[in-house]
Symmetry: C2
Subunit: 657 residues, 2 copies
Amino acid sequence: MPNKHYTVTFQPFALKINADHGEAVLQVARRAGIHINASCGGAGVCGKCRVTVENGDVSGGISEKLSSDDISAGVRQACTALVESDLTVSLPEDYILDGDLLTGESARKHRATPVEFDVQTLQKKGVFLPPVEKFFIELPLPSANDNMSDAGRLSRALAEQYSERGLHIGLSMLRKLRRICREDNFRLTATLSRPVGKKAKTQLVNLQSGNWTDRNYGLAVDIGTTTVYCQLIDLHTGENLGMNGNYNGQLSYGEDVISRIIYAEKPEGLVKMQEIVVATINNGIESILQESRIRREEITCITLAGNTVMTHLFLSLEPHNIRRSPYVPVSTLFPPIRATDLGLQLPDYAIALVFPAVSSYVGGDIVAGVMGAGMHLSDELTLFIDVGTNAEIVIGNREWMVCAACSAGPAFEGGGITHGMRAAPGAIDDFAIHPRTLNPMNRTIDNKPPRGICGSGLLVIIATLLEHGIIDARGKFNRDIHHHRLREGRSGFEFVLAGRDETDVGHDIVLNEVDIGNFIRAKGAIFAGANTLIEEIGLSLEEIDRVILAGGFGSYLDLDAAITVGLLPELPAEKVLYAGNGSLLGCRMSSLSNHIRLDVLKVIQKMTSFELSEVPAFQNHFTASLFLPHTDMQLFPLVAEKISERKIDLEQIKQDD
Amino acid sequence: MPNKHYTVTFQPFALKINADHGEAVLQVARRAGIHINASCGGAGVCGKCRVTVENGDVSGGISEKLSSDDISAGVRQACTALVESDLTVSLPEDYILDGDLLTGESARKHRATPVEFDVQTLQKKGVFLPPVEKFFIELPLPSANDNMSDAGRLSRALAEQYSERGLHIGLSMLRKLRRICREDNFRLTATLSRPVGKKAKTQLVNLQSGNWTDRNYGLAVDIGTTTVYCQLIDLHTGENLGMNGNYNGQLSYGEDVISRIIYAEKPEGLVKMQEIVVATINNGIESILQESRIRREEITCITLAGNTVMTHLFLSLEPHNIRRSPYVPVSTLFPPIRATDLGLQLPDYAIALVFPAVSSYVGGDIVAGVMGAGMHLSDELTLFIDVGTNAEIVIGNREWMVCAACSAGPAFEGGGITHGMRAAPGAIDDFAIHPRTLNPMNRTIDNKPPRGICGSGLLVIIATLLEHGIIDARGKFNRDIHHHRLREGRSGFEFVLAGRDETDVGHDIVLNEVDIGNFIRAKGAIFAGANTLIEEIGLSLEEIDRVILAGGFGSYLDLDAAITVGLLPELPAEKVLYAGNGSLLGCRMSSLSNHIRLDVLKVIQKMTSFELSEVPAFQNHFTASLFLPHTDMQLFPLVAEKISERKIDLEQIKQDD
């Protein structure tokens, strides 16, 4: 059933907003930039987000928080009231902000443009070229005048019909060739794995009698330190057939890469680490196959990317020296490997390709992200930032790139924050505040009662507090504000985002100055890293044409918030792209276009890796970045303007709950 | 002890001949072209080869056939009397031929020039380049300014120090690299396997800490239908370290390739054929390692060649269609294979290389022979003949080659001949006849009493009978000769080479007209094949510059005999080369010079294979070749002259024993 679209009219503004069938009214208001109190994250628990439906149908939106009089008067909880038709909704008077502020709020909801490629474009450009492809061939029958060998006959046909020359035919293929040729009168399907370098041959990896060209599937796998994502791809059509994320089984042996390395150094530790991550991937493959009803035998290739440590553990390469100065990995290049040789439960003809790394700290996941987002093909000077447990930065264009890992710490993944958490159900991932009542509008993932704050939520909360002057440039709360939500806690001043009764965790959810300090160091490290790298090559941040964001921010990052806090330089929203899981994007791209694999060695050779701690300028840049947004406000003129406009009027603050 | 040289003077001719210490007097006489009766092949049994030692010392030469008077008069049996000093030996009067005849006999002992290459020449030409080579490297230690990966460090050093670029490092090598680097402070030995084609990379196949460059060995293996030869080669010095021949274990399943194919078509038959030949090779390797005291771990490569069927069986490729029209093999090209994957008892880093074939009937053994003998590098128009159970012919030069297999049958291997046998101890392999007494001088292999006639013996016997007019051009005995050695036997007329009491087999050894007919068809097929091939490309036999002989003739072929019977065209002796086991020669050459492997694809592409039965002219040529030497005597003017000169005088024939 195609999704129906309705119009929701918010009164008293007469603001008309498009809405999908079944969308929550709170969600629609949020898109409009309209503030509605919602402490509980849209879970229907706090009962604060009351609106009145004047016209049209909603479903839900009713709880014991509403009296029967309210209900008959059309009052509903905006968080759980779902749009069923065109609506007119009026907002309680005290929610209503003046027109100016409304516009400001609305303008802030900029999102980065998602990076996606579509198969038609690849096909048009002639770069749709899966690394493993099936070819159907009808061979001329052998005769006295044409009695070349079966292998020669096949090679000749592939060269003549498909320009596939210089084929490598291994022993296992030769052993079945005669039978396959004669099973269906010399009509057969040859599965070819394309070469990864110039000095390599196309390999014949499978033979089937008859025509099987439309049954050709590949897997893309991001081996994250925390989560392993698998994606199933139809190599014939380019279609995505399914996706699956599982915690990396290695998590039980340590959350970060260093503790994994330490475990791998124990006797049999490396073998165990390898087996565990392979088991995680095998589980992912199993689920995705069950869901998609694709047969395992039809998977011909798997492309994987991970950081350098994850890649070493996956391949059972000793990672010992990655954690010891001068931080030397065993290798940054990895050969194509038979998937079964790694323990992957795939057919013996499936080839595993692992993205190469740049260094111990800039891994194949970053290379995949850079290439998946097409940075290596663009003339524009691009800042690529992948934010995960650590952050990696790449600056450059098709000609050159510099890169570094930043010790940003895990704040953007909710780590090191009092009530931080991963981007999981119940995590506050968006936020607004009423400038007079200081009431928060928390949005949580899956509309569950709040359980904590995830990275993207943290970013918006801090940006909002800064804009309204509730915290200052050093991240300290304005002690002149006297409000029950602002209080002295165990770790200094804190802001109460949700009261204990509104949450799912039995305590208040707060953000304190220590949390803000950790966040500032994280964003400061990234900004300083980018600033240092670009200076190293004699340019400055102002010259950056665009930004590509990848990684753990969840699917949407609030761009204005990111600029407000000084994580990103001031750029127009359309110049910021969001690549999502860059590693997975690169793997998927590589599964559809062998050009990625052909270019990857050139790309990593262009990527100059810096160890920021070895660059003297970094420390100065870092210190200058430990302000919101930055010591040098000339870098952020629009932010400066916004802060002065939005600053709340202490006189008007009401303690309304 | 260096070999001492003496002079033996034969009386009454005063003919002085150089002799080695310990050489039999009969052997020395034979080299002089002097005929001494010796029916028993030099085994000391017949007692006919009496000579008188006038001066100097011999050892042996005494048996119960000599009286004590004889012995004290200096009479000895020439076959077992060994030269111990300078000698004067007089011959019994009835042995003595007139001077003219003596010269003729002497002139006949032309041998083909052995083809050999020496390592110094390869080195001088810059083509000494073993396919697998060890390199010792001292890597610069990693530092903060130079912290590339271990694999990158190794690749860089190999490129800088040895110009080895674009190395392929497989997973198993990456897995041990970190440890090996650090075991001896980044001093290590890398074993590299060179690429076989342009579109291939040098492979890192082994790593050892420390310097092991001088311990690098290879094996060359000729997989013959009958015999498997293994040779051990020092890849560092090029030296031959040992050689070994064993019957192919598949012999129990059929003597020829067709019966082997039939067996391989049975359930599990192919697997069994593969296992058996691998076991034969493994036995060969085992013996050669024991004799040479080289450690198995030090063998890094093995190069093999065989005919197309033997190669298919060795690789477990279905040979079924090789014996069925239109005679299609599975493949003529074979990839490099890990030796252990074939069941060879070699280290897992040893790579097996198998010579490619041209067609079902011109196999890798022929390609190896052609390349081992350097035919593919020469401007001279060369006729290459490999005579084994079948015969293969190649004609051409560095620019082009045509080739074919001839259904010569096994006559040259002693097959299809009443008293034929392989070239084993007791086989008559050389022969002369006394023109008046018709007494034979049989030489046997290892001087054992005669057991039969091998290929090279058969050739000389028939040539000798022809020269003396004992048989005619059709191979029929001259019925006008009345002599006890010429008689009617079960299969028509026959010549008695050795009486029952002189042999080791309990019966007379004879050659009959059926045998001669078989021989004529064999030599005729080869000559007609060569003639047909050369005509196909618009040339004629007269334009051939040289001949290279390979294969089962034993180490020496009597060139004059080969020309006399019309097997070879009339060419000066120095234009005939003998390559011995061409297949083994090619494998050994390929083990020392990777250029062979690089060139082999180009060579087989130049080799146009003909199916002689499909060429109409062949039948005419064959019919014309069914004469000794040929219907067209203008092709053999010197032979014609010789026959008219040597023809025996029927009047003078004596029945002297």
